[in-house]
Every structure is written in C-alpha cells, then in structure tokens.
C-alpha cells in the first residue's frame, strides 16, 4: 500500500507536509534504538519509533526508509520537523502504542521479515 493511503486508512497525523508519500510500503521495522535501525532496517522500511530527536531524520535518510511513524502519542522536536522538511523525510504520528500500531500494519500485509 502507498504511504499516503496507509496514513489515511490508519488516521495518522501528518507531521511533515512536503515529503514524498507515493512510495509503496512493503515492510517495516520497530525500534527505539537508533543503532539497531542503522544495522537492521532495510530499504523502504516504515520505521515505527517513539524517539523524537532530530537524529531520526539522518537514520531514515542513510537507510533509505520510506518514512517514520511516531507511536504512543509522542511529539517530534521542532528541529526534527525542520530537518525532516529539509531532507524530505515523511513523518507521521499516532496515539496508539507501538505494539498496536505495528499490529494494524501487519494486518495490511506490511511485513517485518528480513
């Protein structure tokens, strides 16, 4: 499913408006450890995390991730939003806890298999 369709279906809040959302999302990765994501994410993953500081943008760029979903109702730092706009990284928010957010994605066929 396309990132924009996922966001709409799931009711995520769009945090970064200028970023590309046409990418087809097939896989995801959930972790709050940036080192873990750097080592184990794959290209095109949607990354689910509750880390909000601006370094999450660099991780998404270096790993060619399709986007970031902030779970548990956390809000990104202002500088994170600015950096994401500059680097065109899509960021979304949900109030659902990570487990629930990931579970719903899994039901739509988004896999975490490596």
């Amino acid at each position: 499913m396309k990132l924009k369709d996922l966001a709409e279906k799931m009711g995520w809040e769009i945090v970064v408006r200028n970023a590309p959302v046409e990418a087809e999302v097939k896989s995801g990765y959930a972790s709050d450890l940036l080192s873990d994501v750097l080592a184990n994410s794959i290209e095109g993953d949607l990354w689910v995390t509750r880390q909000t500081h601006l370094n999450i943008v660099a991780i998404a760029v270096m790993r060619d991730l399709s986007g970031i979903l902030l779970s548990n109702g956390v809000k990104p730092d202002q500088e994170t939003v600015e950096k994401a706009m500059e680097k065109m990284v899509p960021i979304f928010r949900t109030n659902l806890p990570t487990f629930e957010a990931v579970g719903r994605l899994y039901q739509l066929g988004i896999s975490g298999e490596r």
Partner: protein, 142 residues
C-alpha cells in the same frame, strides 16, 4: 574525487551533516543505490563515533574507479582494546548517549558489515584512525 568534512565532538545536532553531503555527492555520481546506502551507513556510524567519543575529527571520502575509500581520523581518547570494541554489544558510551538511542555496541560491527574492507588503528590519549572501503561493483554484501 575527494570529499572532506570536519566533525566536532559532542555536536549531536550536526550528526549526519557529513554523511548527508557525501550521500548526495555519490548519488550525483550515479553509483548504485545499495552501494551508496552501505557507504552512507558506515560513514554515519563513523561520524557518530567521532561525535560520541572524540574531541574532533575529519571524514575523507575518496571515490576511485573500483571502490570508495573512507578515512575517519579523530583526536580523542583512543580505543584501548580494539578487539573488545569490535565485539557486538560492547560499549563505553555514557548514559546521555544511550538515551538518544546510540551506544549499544553495534557501530563498529555495522561498519564492518557494510564495508568490503576495514581497518582501525588507535593510540590511547591521541586518537583513532578508521578506514574502510566499499567496492563499487560488489553487490553481494548487506
């Protein structure tokens, strides 16, 4: 082509600035995306190590015909036991770094995983020299 960047220790706000620019330049050179991703990941890990542990450092990327050769030299405390530092899960990062989601002892192993060749030299109280190469035509790794 040679690209050089200065990196300042403890400056987490600028983490990735060198790697962003290097990724862009490699993209403009038309290198395959998977090769660029491996170089960007390993360079970012190296850049982070300078920010986490060192006073300052320099990232130097040399694009050659058959490989991309990256050198990251820093002035800092050095690594007393490189073998231990290369062990997955071993880390000496302080709590404020771990809170950001870094410093879990995965960085150097991840550089090794993404590179085709890697070498670290270090002198305690002087600094660390990290060098790695990614072959441009090898698509078999990570």
């Amino acid at each position: 082509m040679i690209i050089e960047f200065e990196v300042s220790g403890q400056d987490f706000k600028k983490a990735g600035e060198a790697s962003f620019e290097i990724k862009n330049r490699l993209k403009r050179l038309g290198l395959p995306p998977d090769i660029i991703r491996r170089i960007a990941t390993a360079t970012y890990e190296g850049e982070l190590n300078v920010i986490i542990y060192a006073h300052k450092g320099k990232v130097r990327v040399c694009v050659e015909d058959k490989c991309v050769d990256v050198t990251i030299d820093d002035i800092g405390p050095g690594i007393p036991n490189i073998q231990l530092a290369m062990k997955e899960g071993y880390s000496t990062a302080p709590p404020h770094v771990k809170q950001l989601g870094y410093g879990s002892g995965m960085g150097l192993p991840n550089i090794k995983k993404n590179a085709d060749w890697m070498e670290i030299r270090s002198e305690v109280n002087r600094g660390t020299n990290l060098r790695f190469k990614v072959n441009i035509n090898n698509k078999e790794k990570a």
